[in-house]
């Protein structure tokens, strides 16, 4: 009899083995690597893309959702209708939703959030979108009517960005440190400088479908540490992996999967259009012609990245390839400088923020500019200095930066923006883009806009940042491309 007992016990043990032996404790937790730490956790209050990487779709949700392929889908709004003049949007909200502090989600919260985004004191990056709403009506708790001052063909897309998420009035003030939203995960813990942890929220409307119990975002700035963290198994997945030179070693390793997709990161050599001699379009064209995009993509991005000729990516609607407008041609660049009457060598400063695309790409660009007689002195700065000196006070000649916001051509219509491009003609084109309701006619204006800034060589347009993800085998559901900077964890699971 004891013998049978042992046999049964052994059988049970063997039956249990595969389940427990396959790292069962890993199945419902995930450690994601990210490069930059967010300054706060309220996406409606700060410009850093890192805020959205942690909170968007996980803690906070908007009325619409931008999906992995860049299309707009319902989220908190289950359906909507648009008036024929494209100025009135009527949203039908999903019922029975609660915030994580147990308050019900109603039309009043939408009204509160959008009014807060448009308010005088709002620091919302997309404030203009909300300031453009003339009236918000809430005929019943699950219906919201938005009346726009003018047509905005991007409106549903804008609402799907992390700047359009819906906050709960009582907790809104403390969302930067303790975010409360309607999403599948709640904020758990933030170890400053190290990691942010989210936990599954049992009260979520579809909690059963969420596979992960805990997700930790580990902040790893240093490329070598990113490699080490993945190799050591401390990090399960790195969605925007930074050590591109080390990619080969992960591609050849069966423990990892590597995907290369694209982001909306338009990497540009930004030019201060108000500074002499860059106020002369010939000088700006000379700079554009002096730059060999391929050398920069090879040197700064390990050969990955699509060259661009305007502030627009191939993923965007009505994209036209304008790289042919400013090909690499040092001889033409020299001729343009001569024509502009610039005395050589022209001494300028090239300000470089920390990412490799700037630090590495900057040295290549400096060498290429030297070829045509522009002596670019490199100045390396940290992010805080860049945001203050370059972005806020416009105190720079040239800088390299990647604009990760999707479809943000409108920044060129703002003469106060840091590159200080002031063109009435372009503003008129953007006005048409924003207010034209007919899709194909709007497309023609979008093409005109892309051509306009390429023709004026406002900045030297380099390439689209690739999205490289390195993950352990078995991690499922991560986005391959980044139409917006987000990690949609509801879809992520272990195989």
């Amino acid at each position: 009899m004891p013998r049978t007992c042992y046999a049964i016990a052994a059988a049970i043990a063997i039956a249990l083995l595969p389940a427990s032996g396959h790292g069962e404790e890993k199945k419902d937790t995930l450690v994601l690597g990210m490069i930059l730490e967010p300054p706060g956790l309220d996406p409606t209050a700060g410009a850093a893309a890192a805020i959205g990487e942690v909170t968007h779709y996980n803690i906070f949700e908007g009325l619409t959702k931008i999906t992995a392929d860049g299309t707009v889908a319902p989220l908190l709004a289950e359906s909507w209708s648009v008036s024929p003049d494209q100025k009135t949007y009527t949203f039908r909200l999903r019922g029975g939703i609660r915030f994580q502090n147990d308050e019900p989600f109603t039309a009043a919260d939408v009204k509160f959030s959008f009014e807060r985004d448009a308010a005088e004191s709002s620091t919302n990056k997309e404030k203009a979108v909300y300031a453009d709403i003339a009236a918000i009506e809430t005929p019943d708790p699950l219906t919201v009517v938005l009346r726009l001052k003018q047509v905005n063909a991007n409106f549903l897309f804008n609402l799907g960005e992390n700047t359009g998420v819906i906050l709960e009035p009582k907790s809104a003030a403390s969302d930067a440190t303790h975010p409360v939203g309607t999403g599948p995960f709640t904020f758990d813990n933030w170890v400053k400088g190290a990691s942010i942890t989210l936990a599954k929220w049992p009260g979520y409307r579809d909690a059963a479908a969420i596979k992960l119990d805990r997700v930790t975002f580990r902040i790893v700035n240093d490329p070598a540490a990113q490699v080490a963290g993945l190799l050591a198994g401390d990090i399960d997945a790195f969605p925007r992996f930074g050590a591109l030179d080390s990619l080969k070693q992960f591609q050849g390793d069966a423990r990892f999967t590597v995907t290369v997709g694209s982001t909306e990161g338009k990497t540009i050599l930004a030019i201060n259009n108000k500074r002499k001699p860059f106020d002369d379009v010939r000088v700006r064209r000379a700079i554009a012609a002096a730059i060999d995009r391929k050398a920069i993509i090879d040197g700064a991005s390990n050969g990955m990245g699509v060259p661009i000729g305007s502030h627009y990516t191939p993923n965007d609607p009505f994209y036209i390839d304008l790289t042919g407008r400013s090909p690499y041609d040092p001889a033409k660049a020299k001729a343009l400088l001569k024509e502009a009457g610039v005395s050589l060598p022209l001494k300028v400063t090239l300000t470089l923020p920390p990412p490799p695309y700037a630090r590495q790409g900057g040295q290549i660009i400096a060498a290429e500019l030297a070829e045509i007689g522009i002596d670019a002195r490199i100045e390396m700065v940290e992010w805080a200095q860049w945001l203050d000196g370059v972005y806020k006070h416009k105190n720079y000649d040239l800088t390299i930066i990647s604009h990760v916001e999707p479809r943000d051509l409108a920044i060129y219509a703002n003469p106060d923006y840091y590159f200080q491009y002031d063109s009435k003609e372009f503003r008129d084109i953007m006005e048409k883009v924003n207010t034209t309701a007919d899709a194909s006619e709007r497309g023609r204006w979008l093409e005109a806009a892309q051509r306009g800034i390429a023709e004026d060589a406002v900045n030297a347009f380099l390439y689209v940042l690739p999205q490289v993800t390195v993950a352990k085998k078995g991690v499922r559901g991560l986005w391959r491309n980044s139409p917006i900077f987000a990690n949609d964890l509801a879809a992520v699971s272990w195989q």
Partner: protein, 285 residues
């Protein structure tokens, strides 16, 4: 035994001297010749292993590491020479003054030195470059400033001891003024101590310059710097570990050489280390 014979017999001095000479020779040579231009970016050739064309391989932008190291030596020496000279001149003047004047002047100089010492040197230099802006000139100033109290302390300590010597008493009795005594009797007698300190501070200056450049506050690209080469190599540590090894060895050898030279110098110049030790002071008349 003559000084030169003793010098040859002192192993620290010989090894240190050779290493330092090699450093100086490399820097001098790099002014006129490097195998390839250290500024030549050749992206397709990036991260090459050491070869006949690239003796120490290439970095992430395809530049020749050997050439960059040679020019980097120039950079280290430039920072070392200027920063140490600033410290030596100002510091010695203050130290000798303190030893001569005594009283509140000495107190003031020494407390100021203590105050500077209260901050770790590298933090002070970081603060300085952060306020004034990154760059080679500002890092020289930052390192130079920290050298001042070090030399002031050393000069004051040894000068005070000399002031107690009989020959100084004799000079005073003979009516020589205090400035004259300082110049003729004190300074020559503290020179040996100072020269040892110079080699040590030179080594420190090279280290600090490398540290500042590593942090992005020192020498700015494209000018090669050992510290920044280390920083650049860090991102490729898994891909191309040799990129970190070469500048690391360069810094180590330069600092080791100068420190050994300082040790050797101290032994050679220290009268107690020789047979003439009994005939105490290295007197001068």
């Amino acid at each position: 035994m003559s000084l030169s014979a003793r010098a040859a017999g002192n192993r620290s001095f010989a090894v240190g001297g050779l290493l330092t000479l090699a450093l100086l020779a490399t820097a001098a040579l790099s002014l006129v010749w490097t195998p390839l231009s250290p500024y030549l970016i050749d992206v397709p050739q990036k991260l090459q292993l050491p070869s006949a064309r690239h003796w120490f391989g290439t970095d992430s932008l395809g530049r020749d590491v050997f050439s960059m190291l040679m020019v980097g030596a120039q950079n280290s020496i430039l920072v070392g020479v200027i920063a140490v000279s600033v410290g030596l001149l100002l510091g010695t003047a203050l130290g000798v003054l303190a030893a001569e004047r005594r009283g509140w002047v000495e107190e003031a100089v020494m407390r100021l030195a203590d105050f500077t010492f209260a901050f770790p040197a590298i933090l002070l230099a970081i603060m300085f470059t952060a306020v004034l802006g990154a760059g080679i000139v500002n890092s020289i100033i930052a390192i130079g400033i920290f050298n001042v109290p070090i030399f002031a302390r050393v000069a004051r300590g040894s000068a005070k001891a000399i002031w107690q010597r009989d020959f100084v008493m004799a000079a005073r009795a003979a009516g020589r003024n205090r400035l004259g005594i300082t110049l003729v009797h004190i300074l020559p007698n503290i020179l040996s101590v100072l020269s040892v300190q110079v080699t040590i501070q030179f080594a420190n200056a090279i280290l600090w310059e490398a540290a500042l450049s590593y942090l992005g506050l020192g020498t700015q690209p494209p000018q090669p710097s050992w510290g920044r080469m280390l920083n650049d190599a860090q991102a490729q540590l898994f891909q191309a570990p040799w990129l970190a090894l070469f500048p690391g060895f360069a810094i180590m050898l330069a600092v080791l050489g100068l420190n050994l030279l300082g040790d050797g110098l101290r032994d050679l110049l220290d009268p107690r280390g020789t047979r003439r030790a009994i005939a105490a002071p290295p007197a001068r008349r």
